[in-house]
């Protein structure tokens, strides 16, 4: 072996160990760098005892774990965002100051005060003030929900920008890595950076990563929509929703075409925000809106069946839920429709059936029309309902479609929907119905003056003082729209019910318009369309006699000659019968899901369940993420003790290599001196 060879060996070893020390240094320096994968020097022997060389400097990483981590990061961030929004809603509903239920308690308590003392002006004014406060509560709570919607819109926009910044950088790194590999330059750090950027992207949006050409990573969202392909990235745009422009959607620009991918996005903060909006926020607004509409409409209905201090029939306490403007605001047409909507109306018809949901009407061609209830996905085939030939005949469970397929009226789920388009509807034409979405926002107070509170019943029934039987009569308004009073505040006609001595007992209803010559009264009591003479009708206790807009119920045992007269309740200012009916609504099952506060309670329950489920998901996803990132850190992370040991190891090797050079010099000197 020549001294030169020894020198050469020493130099090579010196370089190799120096390189190894450098790598240790790199590892130590990057101990806290996010996304850094530790590197090791791969040393190999040079053949024929000619020393050592650096074969390569490798990143220690595991592709499977990296991809698993991206997926876990996106799932975790989705549940984190969802849970954050949901907790805010949960907190919002928890405070007493926003609680609709305690607002209703206060409202009904004020109503009880007027029940107790209907003549008291302060009680009446207080009730109106409380009604106003309740309206404010509904409005404010809805405004808070809308604020969340706006927060989601804003964050969708911000996050779309972030996605674009990240995808541009990832595409750029793809390009650099391609060039670097071709030029045989080190690409470890570029790969680390790219993985870290994809990791950051996964925090925002769930992506599928596909490795192509050995070193290129392409990213896809949803059903394979390309976000990054090799060196180029597609732009993600925040666009107004169609047809509901109040909700920002996401569109991907693929070769200059915008494709709405909102429904396809899952994972990441975007996935969390969109899922929350879709599943929790919109349904919470629908539920709140439904409570508001049920409350408003049922209260108005009863209030309008009474009379106020001025002997006038009651007006609206709250804004009419079926005003033309509100009916129109509940229909949205997709802008891609070929048949343009000329007029769309959703009327609240049967309160007990109204659902807290959004609906989609889709024209599938050949007069086949489907209605999808979004809350549970139930599909109703409109054309399978009963068809009627006049839109005015449409009632729950039937529909009307004109020959030209441009006028559709149908009634299901307690609502009546009318859609008129400018031409025949085409396949794929879509309309969105939001019957209750803005119910709480639209709520308003109409009544201003305590005198206008209609607390009395418009009808009084007087038991003749000469009656000898034990019959007791009561009247209640069944439909204030058909109640008839002439201008002077008289019931038209005033009636008298007289019992005779037939066995079993019978009664006759007399029209008392001419009190000296009463005539048996004709009315369509059984609702079959033809009026019948109410003469010598067999009496059975507790039967209701249906009259024009009201009914009379007589109980007990009247005797022959007993009479009950029915007239307008003029100056009945102490009467609280209508106020009692209003106050009874607190406990009434106004919908098939119970009373107002039961509905509000189930809203709380649903939000609470969603929030606690979101929290459980979050904890679970966090545990999964921790375990994956532990596994990854365990492989790729830097351990300082390990590096310290390596430092000593390579330092000693370096010193030994230096010794080789020194020895080679000594050998050389020895040789020179011996000459």
């Amino acid at each position: 072996m020549s001294g030169y060879n020894l020198l050469n060996l020493g130099t090579q070893a010196l370089q190799a160990n120096s390189s190894a020390l450098g790598t240790v240094g790199q590892n130590i320096s990057n101990v806290n760098t996010e996304g850094y994968s530790r590197q090791v020097v791969n040393l190999t022997t040079v053949q024929y005892r000619s020393g050592v060389q650096v074969e390569s400097i490798d990143r220690i990483t595991d592709r499977f774990l990296t991809e698993q981590l991206w997926s876990d990061v996106s799932t975790y961030n989705q549940s984190l965002t969802y849970s954050a929004f949901s907790s805010r809603l949960d907190d919002l509903l928890a405070t007493d100051s926003t609680s609709i239920s305690s607002g209703l308690d206060t409202y009904f308590s004020a109503l009880q005060n007027v029940v107790d003392d209907p003549t008291s002006t302060p009680n009446r004014e207080l009730f109106i003030a409380e009604a106003d406060a309740l309206v404010q509560r509904f409005n404010n709570l809805d405004a808070s929900l809308q604020t969340q919607n706006e927060a989601i819109n804003d964050s969708v926009e911000d996050l779309a920008d972030q996605v674009n910044a990240l995808t541009t950088n990832i595409a750029d790194l793809n390009y650099k890595i391609k060039v670097g590999t071709a030029a045989n330059r080190p690409i470890n750090e570029l790969q680390d950076q790219r993985e870290e950027l994809i990791n950051q992207l996964s925090e925002v949006i769930g992506v599928d990563a596909v490795e192509q050409d050995g070193n290129q990573i392409s990213l896809f969202v949803g059903n394979g929509q390309p976000l990054v392909v090799g060196g180029s990235a597609n732009n993600l745009l925040a666009v107004p929703g169609d047809p509901d422009a109040s909700q920002t959607n996401l569109a991907l620009t693929i070769s200059n075409n915008e494709v709405d991918i909102t429904d396809q996005i899952s994972g990441g903060q975007l996935g969390g925000a969109l899922k929350y909006r879709e599943e929790a926020l919109n349904s919470a607004r629908d539920e709140l809106g439904r409570v508001a509409i049920l409350f408003t409409e049922s209260m108005n209905e009863v209030h309008q069946s009474g009379i106020d201090l001025n002997n006038d029939l009651g007006g609206l306490i709250f804004r009419d839920v079926n005003s033309a403007q509100l009916q129109r605001s509940r229909v949205l047409a997709d802008s891609d429709n070929r048949a343009q909507l000329e007029d769309g109306l959703v009327e609240i018809e049967d309160l007990s059936q109204i659902q807290a949901s959004e609906y989609t009407v889709l024209y599938e061609g050949d007069n086949r029309i489907t209605l999808t209830r979004e809350s549970d996905g139930k599909i109703i085939r409109i054309n399978a309902l009963d068809q009627v030939s006049d839109p005015y005949d449409v009632e729950q469970g039937s529909y009307y479609l004109n020959a030209n397929s441009s006028e559709l009226t149908f009634a299901v789920d307690g609502m009546k929907v009318t859609l008129n388009t400018d031409r025949r509807m085409s396949i794929g034409d879509e309309f969105v119905l939001q019957p209750v979405r803005t119910g709480a926002e639209d709520m308003g107070l109409e009544i201003q003056d305590g005198d206008q509170l209609a607390l009395a019943s418009p009808i009084r029934v007087i038991t003749d003082t000469e009656n000898t039987g034990s019959g007791v009569a009561a009247v209640s308004v069944t439909d204030f729209r058909t109640l008839s009073f002439d201008t002077s505040g008289e019931l038209a006609p005033p009636l008298s019910i007289v019992f005779n001595n037939a066995d079993p007992m019978q009664y006759t209803v007399y029209d008392m318009t001419d009190s000296l010559n009463p005539q048996p009264y004709s009315y369509d009591s059984d609702g079959d369309g033809t009026p019948e003479l109410l003469e010598d009708v067999t009496y059975s206790a507790g039967d209701s006699i249906q009259l024009k807009g009201y009914e009379t119920t007589i109980t007990g045992q009247p005797k022959a000659g007993d009479r009950f007269s029915i007239s307008f309740n003029e100056d009945g200012i102490s009467d609280n019968r209508n106020a009692l009916l209003m106050s009874d609504l607190q406990e009434a099952d106004v919908s098939n899901k119970g009373a107002y506060q039961d509905l509000y309670g189930s809203l709380l329950e649903r939000v609470g369940t969603r929030t606690s489920t979101a929290q459980i998901n979050l904890d679970a996803n966090k545990a999964v993420l921790t375990s994956t990132s532990d596994a990854k850190a365990s492989i790729s992370g830097v351990n300082l003790d390990e590096e310290a040991a390596k430092l000593v190891q390579f330092q000693q090797a370096y010193q030994a290599s230096a010794q080789l050079i020194s020895t080679s010099q000594t050998l050389f000197d020895t040789l020179l001196n011996s000459l």
Partner: protein
Amino acid sequence: MRISTQQQYLKSVDNMQRTQTNMAELQEQVSTGKRLQTPSDDPVAAAQVVKLERELAQYAKFEDNIDVTERRLQLEETILDSMYTATTRFKELGIYAGNSTLSAADRGTIATEVEELTEYMASLMNTQDSLGEYIFAGSKGGTEPYEQLGDGSYQYNGDDGQRQIQVGSNLYIPSNDSGSYLFEAVEGRLQVDMTGESVAAGSPFVTVPPLDSAYTTAFPSIALESSFLEATKGLGDLTITITNDGTNSLYNITDSSGNEIVSNTVFVDDETIDYEGLRFGLTALSPGDPDTSITLDIAPEQMNILDVAQNFSYALRNADGEDLNEALATTLDQFQQAADRNLEATAALGTRLSSIEKITDSNADFKLFTETALSNLVDADLAEVISQYALEESTLEASQALFGRITSLSLFDYIN
């Protein structure tokens, strides 16, 4: 397994944060005393809390309603009591006035007392509550119920409305009684109300009393009224139909369900017809005239106690001998009827007040029950929460101690 240095730090921090979050939640529970902070803490309980709180709010309202109702009923009770005392005095005066030794001047003095008492009673019957509402006017609380007409008699202007107040979840109590029930309780003489086409046209074919009669009423005596009532009991309204068969005018009488009780009988103009004591005349029809009928509603006239008292004072001032005795007998009987209705109403009030007492007790029981249920759902078990807190605290201390130990270990410390 390899552990990376970063991992060591992150894990420790993560654990400490989790413990601190738990401690913050427990601390919140301790400081508010509530287990249920947000609906998500227990969604099912949150829905139940809404229901229970609604019930509590209602029970609080029922208590108010009970106070209001009690106050109104007690006021009514006081007035009825005064009315009873006055009625008793009337009866005493009626008995005293029957004393045959009294002179006309003495009876005049009694009449004066009766008149003063009548005014006093009228003022009681027009009582207003603190808000100015007439309490005996039924639903017409803004209308003075007893108005004195030009002839001195009193007319009832209210109706028979009753105000129901909710005092329990399914219990409504009437908080007033109308004057028509309380005071229009005295039966007077029988009164005949006629209806029919000819009545409306202003020329009824029935004349009561009959045209040639000296009687002033359809019933010459109270005895005949009684026998008429007995005979027509349960028949209801009677209908008199007159026809002409071409030669004679005929009449028949049917009961309220159309059964003939007097078959076709020939009559002539101005003939006095007697049906079970009811005297009337009929106007004959000409041949070819259409049949016509009139319905009679015959029932005792309902009088109020003020009318009775006024009749009493009128008799004291204007009648003597047998007339006076008869009038006094009627008056005493009528005062007794008024007193009976007063007692009946007072008894009903007593029943209402005692049901209010009972419902107050049961409301209190339900309220306590509801409060307990609510507390079970909402309130934190402090002993449990505090011991949990202590546990979390020791966990945190241990984590912190461990962090200090782990981070102080480094191989670099041993390399020189």
